[in-house]
């Protein structure tokens, strides 16, 4: 069904010769020189809206929810004018086999040329059947679609890192996209956040379409343009941090004055995201502005870094769960006590041997 303008003309019995003639006429009628005709022809032959297959795995669908809240561009304009959202089971009209057929059609027509947008992630436990699509593991649909795509966008922390379902003990073995075994090696753009900021999502898409290239990524695969700085680096409460003015408890004097939330657990200093710059919902606010510490929702494994209200986070393993001060403080006490005991024993021994000598 999806055709370029050229294909539509061909289907209507127009020859390539007359198509090219049409292009030069168009160029002329637009006041452009004849040299523009090949460009027009090229665009018409090759430039359908870029097809996007948006697959859903284990997730909460909040990334989609965030996406539709984009204020600039409007989600409506992205869907109607920028991309061709051919498959997205959250909003598509078709269901069941008519829905699944679209994936095959897209692969046939746009092999290697569509974008695979992944929200959520596939589970590997339960034979992969803790996420079933069309009677089969989601893993299969994902791998199949990835085999033929141009590039993958990993929406949100689920696709990028695993997110909540991958939190300890990850009962389904939910696996982020870049770690899925057997996945075709395709460029992966991670847009983490739980969810990501709507305008960041649409900006990533718009950038790709406008500049016809993928954004520059950091070592972890995130677009540098939105993920190269921490919340803390541009936080409007930063002067209070430097001053040593902290919220000590919620709704205290400091909370009302907008003091820094560091002591109630803010993860802004360790979280790479654009919340303090772009802000949320058309630039209206962000968690810290509403008085809640950043919980680090765009960071790998943020669910398992200890309490959201603790500044120092837990260390797992060694059969213990304690923060660095609890663990280190205890160790230092043990070492100090051991040294003291050793000193006492040494002193006794020395006294004895000296007694023997003198």
């Amino acid at each position: 069904m999806t055709e370029t303008f050229y294909e539509v003309m061909r289907r209507q019995g127009i020859t390539r010769r007359s198509f090219l003639k049409y292009c030069s006429l168009t160029a002329a009628s637009l006041g452009l020189g004849p040299s523009f005709a090949p460009q027009i022809a090229h665009a018409m032959e090759t430039k359908p809206r870029i097809p996007v297959l948006w697959l859903h795995g284990l997730e909460c669908t909040c990334c989609s929810e965030s996406f539709i809240r984009s204020a600039h561009p409007l989600a409506k304009d992205v869907i109607l004018s920028m991309i061709s959202l051919d498959y997205d089971d959250t909003i598509m009209a078709a269901a069941g086999q008519q829905a699944e057929a679209i994936i095959e059609e897209t692969i046939q027509k746009y092999d290697g040329n569509y974008i695979l947008a992944c929200e959520g992630n596939p589970p590997l436990n339960q034979e992969g059947m803790s996420c079933i699509i069309a009677g089969k593991p989601y893993l299969e649909q994902l791998k199949h679609a990835a085999n033929h795509c141009k590039a993958i966008i990993s929406w949100g922390s689920c696709a990028s890192w695993g997110c909540v379902q991958a939190a300890r003990p990850n009962p389904t073995q939910a696996t982020p996209i870049h770690m899925v075994p057997g996945l075709a090696a395709k460029p992966i753009i991670k847009v983490p956040g739980c969810p990501p900021i709507a305008e960041v999502m649409t900006a990533v898409i718009t950038y790709i379409l406008t500049f016809e290239k993928f954004p520059e990524l950091d070592r972890q695969g995130r677009p540098k343009m939105f993920y190269s700085q921490r919340i803390h680096d541009k936080c409007y409460r930063r002067p209070h941090f430097d001053a040593g003015q902290f919220v000590e408890a919620f709704d205290d004097e400091g909370a009302r004055k907008g003091y820094c939330l560091y002591k109630v657990g803010c993860k802004g200093p360790t979280t790479y995201n654009a919340c303090s710059t772009v802000r949320w919902n058309g630039g209206l606010s962000f968690p810290i502005q509403a008085g809640h510490p950043c919980i680090g929702c765009s960071e790998d494994g943020f669910w398992d870094k200890g309490g959201f209200y603790d500044r120092l986070t837990d260390i797992h393993g060694f059969g213990v769960e304690a923060n660095a001060d609890e663990l280190g403080g205890k160790a230092a006490l043990v070492v100090g006590a051991a040294a003291a005991a050793h000193a006492a024993v040494s002193a006794v021994k020395r006294a004895r041997s000296n007694g023997g000598k003198e």
Binding site: R230, G244, Q245, E248, G328
Partner: protein, 238 residues
């Protein structure tokens, strides 16, 4: 060297072990680590809030500034200490190159363990570090300082941002290596406690050896001279 005439004559045999630059480094290093631990602890658990205008106070900023300044002193000192390992006397190399491949090293180390375990009656005497001290200092101080510097600079590079040398050479690979920034903080913080533990042991051992092994230890780090009270020559001196 052991017969340096400038040294006041002693009943005991004396060896010049720690040259002045090394001693200077030792105390600068110790001082910066104390500062780093104190300010580092406060970075993790800030003091109670101060009131007034944010612009009128820079308390936490100063705490962090002090930490970073001490951090740089540590870095520069350590770079110098590496240089001195080449330029200084043979003792200056010791903590960098424990002779792990030598059987005698391990035998003597075992003896040292027995001495601390109060099984052996007498310690072996060394003009430099004993093998146990060498190994512990190598692991805890050399690699410990490397670890703190690498993680510290990685954290520092997060603030200076992409493009800064700290970010390029440290943050860019250290952060992903640990998982995420929060993990680097946690391990850097834990590193502080490891240091505290070994400084306790280090100081205790220095004091104890001074008293028990009948050779100068603490004063050596001030004067540079190691003296042996009962005159027996150290085994690492031929």
């Amino acid at each position: 060297m052991s017969t340096d005439s400038a040294h006041p004559s002693h009943r005991e045999e004396a060896v010049y072990v720690y040259e002045a630059p090394l001693r200077l480094w030792h105390w600068v290093n110790a001082f910066s680590i104390f500062t780093l631990a104190a300010t580092g602890y406060l970075i993790g658990s800030p003091p109670p809030s101060v009131g007034g205008e944010a612009s009128a106070s820079f308390l936490f900023g100063w705490i962090r500034y002090l930490h970073f300044a001490a951090g740089y002193i540590l870095v520069i000192g350590f770079l110098f200490r590496i240089y001195w390992a080449f330029a200084g006397n043979e003792h200056a190399k010791q903590i960098f190159l424990p002779p792990l491949w030598k059987r005698s090293f391990w035998n003597e180390l075992l003896h040292e363990v027995k001495w601390y375990g109060m099984v052996a009656k007498e310690p072996l005497k060394y003009s430099g570090h004993n093998p146990l001290a060498t190994l512990v200092m190598h692991v805890m101080f050399v690699w410990g300082i490397v670890f703190m510097i690498v993680t510290g600079l990685a954290l520092y590079g997060e603030g200076t941002g992409m493009g800064s040398w700290q970010h390029t050479y440290f943050s860019s690979w250290v952060i992903p290596l640990f998982g995420q920034s929060q993990d680097v903080h946690t391990w850097h913080h834990l590193g502080m406690w490891v240091f505290i533990c070994f400084v306790i042991v280090h100081i205790y051992a220095a004091v104890r050896e001074d008293i028990m092994s009948r050779q100068s230890i603490m004063s050596s780090m001030f004067s540079g001279w190691r003296t042996f009270r009962d005159g027996a020559p150290p085994i690492d001196k031929k």
